[in-house]
Symmetry: C2
Subunit: 454 residues, 2 copies
């Protein structure tokens, strides 16, 4: 089988695999040949792209030694469905090949008795390392770090290091540097592999090591770690305890996952979705999950309806109001969501913070006023011609202007308030915003009409 590189090749793999699965006599050997050639992360990706019934069939033919790594890379939902069907022995076997950090990600999702069994099957030292990783939040540097690293002393000569590496015979994956520590295990600097290769072997580690190194505090948030890696083009970085002790290292592959997940999270939660959800979850499971979001939105829609209801008598006298009112609400919603998206993204990337929030606010307010004026005139003209009423066109112009200004203010302020209250701006921001623009839009338009038209 060819390598799976592009999306097109990947689609072909999926197609051939589905053909085998759908054939009369399922040729399991062919499936195994397929999977044999694939990287665990690719198999995880493949499993996520398969309907759940096929997924179980394919899972049974996955190479046993990849099972653990595949589980680590699956979306939460898909993983737990698969783990539910594995027995204790299978689970224990799957975890055997895993790094401590990956194992620490999986354990919290396993039944307590299986976790006990896994812990018992480990060596003392390994178990203690695992406990130390488990004690940090999954979303912190401590939760991201792995413990597979090579440390050296500053007073060693490079030729000793070289001999040691040759005796060792292998170096952990994604290693670009060795870590220099003192007798007490405190971090002192980095010894890049490139430096070992290009320096005179007679020199000491102290002479060639990099001192000016970023040590990541063990409690730094995963998001900050990702921003740091991104801004400094790091490949690995040491994780340091408060007392200077070297705790572990973070590698770029785990950071890439954080970046991807975080971006997915912003996008998905703006639609009330969870990025860990299985695309092929059973219809009823998805229905139940989505209905929470629909319920919240129904409440806001009913609030808007109630506002309209206040003006029933006005609408009865001039039905044109009912025709035009969704335009007022919708323009506000669109303009507001532009400001909201900009601010949420800026906050996530750390580009908007209390220091410059005022400038952003003033700018967005300016845009709101200008766009309010422009669209007030355009919509007033359309409405005036359509319903042949100057008064109606003045009233809708005023309502549009009011709503677009309110939309800009809300779009800029809501995420800042939510953040300060400890909420997730991406999740609830858009619901709150639409509520504001609907209620203000309907109230301004129908209210002004009641005052000046009827």
């Amino acid at each position: 089988m060819a390598e799976v590189e592009t999306k097109e090749e990947y689609r072909d793999v999926l197609q051939s695999l589905l053909a085998i699965l759908r054939a009369e006599d399922e040729d399991y050997e062919q499936i195994e040949d397929f999977l044999e050639e694939m990287h665990p992360q690719e198999i995880a990706h493949l499993l996520e792209s398969l309907p759940s019934s096929d997924r179980q069939v394919v899972w049974e033919h996955v190479p046993a030694d990849s099972e653990g790594e595949i589980l680590v890379h699956l979306a939460d939902d898909v993983r737990s469905a698969i783990m539910d069907r594995m027995d204790t022995d299978q689970l224990v076997a799957a975890t055997e090949s895993l790094d401590t950090d990956d194992l620490a990600d999986l354990l919290p999702e396993m039944p307590r008795d299986i976790v006990q069994e896994i812990l018992l099957s480990m060596e003392q030292q390994e178990r203690e390392r695992l406990r130390s990783v488990l004690s940090y939040s999954e979303d912190s540097a401590g939760g991201l770090m792995d413990l597979d690293m090579i440390t050296v002393r500053a007073d060693t000569n490079l030729d000793v290091v070289l001999r040691y590496l040759r005796r060792r015979g292998s170096i952990p994956e994604s290693t670009d540097s060795l870590f220099v520590v003192d007798r007490e295990g405190r971090f002192q600097g980095l010894l890049p592999l490139t430096v070992i290769l290009t320096s005179d072997p007679e020199m000491s580690v102290a002479e060639v090591m990099e001192h000016d190194v970023i040590g990541i505090p063990v409690d730094m948030s995963a998001r900050d770690v990702a921003n740091l890696f991104e801004r400094r083009d790091l490949i690995t970085a040491p994780v340091i305890a408060e007392d200077g002790q070297l705790m572990g290292r973070i590698t770029i592959d785990d950071v890439v996952d954080v970046i991807r997940e975080e971006a997915d999270h912003s996008l998905m939660s703006m639609a009330g979705l969870n990025e860990e959800e299985d695309m092929f979850a059973p219809v009823l499971t998805s229905t139940r999950r989505r209905s929470v979001w629909l319920a919240i939105n129904l409440l806001t829609a009913l609030l808007a309806a109630w506002v309209i209801g206040l003006f029933e008598a006005t609408i009865e006298q001039l039905v044109a109001l009912a025709v035009l009112m969704p335009v007022v609400a919708s323009m506000g919603g669109i303009a507001g969501s532009q400001t909201l998206t900009l601010v949420i993204r800026g906050m996530a990337l750390g580009k908007i913070n209390p220091t410059n929030a005022r400038t952003i606010f003033r700018k967005e307010l300016g845009v709101g006023i200008w766009n309010g004026l422009i669209w007030a005139i355009v919509i007033a003209s359309v409405a005036g011609f359509w319903f042949n009423s100057v008064k109606l066109s003045i009233i809708i112009a005023a309502a549009i202007l009011i709503n677009l200004i309110m939309a800009a203010i809300s779009g800029a302020v809501i995420p800042l308030i939510l953040k300060r209250m400890g909420g997730d701006p991406a999740l609830s921001g858009s619901v709150i915003l639409t509520t504001v623009t609907d209620v203000v839009g309907f109230f301004a338009f129908l209210g002004l009409a009641t005052l000046f038209l009827i």
Copy 2:
């Protein structure tokens, strides 16, 4: 100054910097001290977080040797504003320290005469390398690759490689492997630095090199490259021409930028924004850009208004319809945008493709039907009690069911159609979806009311 690591520290830097800028007697030396300690990418990030007037002041105090790299990392908008104010000498000087791939990103945005000058200032070989990178699209492997790499022959012994590296004295940044090529420059395999360090120096490159390596075709799309790096945990990968020639290498830091930009693009374009836009763009510039999106949305809002207008006579007889109709449209919009977001994201990640699109469609349709039934009953009850009419409640139930089913169908089908037509699902998907759910919602509700209520 301390290292800038977390968002909090970053905010502090921004705050102190603004304090200096706002002080009576601007202390430029202090600004320079600040910037001296920062990484070019961090300065770029800082500049993007500054209002444009401050940005120019800070730019003038940026370390001259970082100017080029800072420009590379700025958002398009911010960069062109800064470059507009630089004269030819400054621009030529700024580009001098850049890698070929970074230079290739900047050149297309410079005036033609400056590009000529830069090309003339380069050595022959360098100029040809640059031309070769410029001939590839920015969004392809060829556009992402850099040419800084070390190649070795398979028949060399490792100790020769070691001596060569020591003589060379330095290794290009982000190097984790040397590239093995034959006499004609065709790619043959990788020689990881870790292998050089752990193997017996008497062995030949051929004996220890990795043969089974992913070579990236020079025309692979940047998105596919990113997915490949992500799935295989790559740090660098060779770029190969069709005839097997080694063209260059792609490193993870450039791939991380692609991943970030792509995710930003999905999020921003769903609100009709451009991810390269300057947060602090002048109010009128932003107003003009955003108004395009508002114009498109006004057309769809007017379409919806026109549908309502068809039923003016009906609404005149029963104003309750005007009160309830936004609920029908809004529930459809919300449900549809959930399906839409899921499908757009799945397509971007390569998890949804023609092979499994049908399964996704059936699932989303199922969710639409179930949620349609549930919310039809809930909303019918509310409407029935509110307006004390069984007929009205039956009609709104039917309209909700119809609209939620249409929403599911549209959410799943619109992105697939847009993709096939070569459009960007993230950009136009949500407008089209809302148009459908508004029009269908109003039409179904008011139409049914006209037929059965009046």
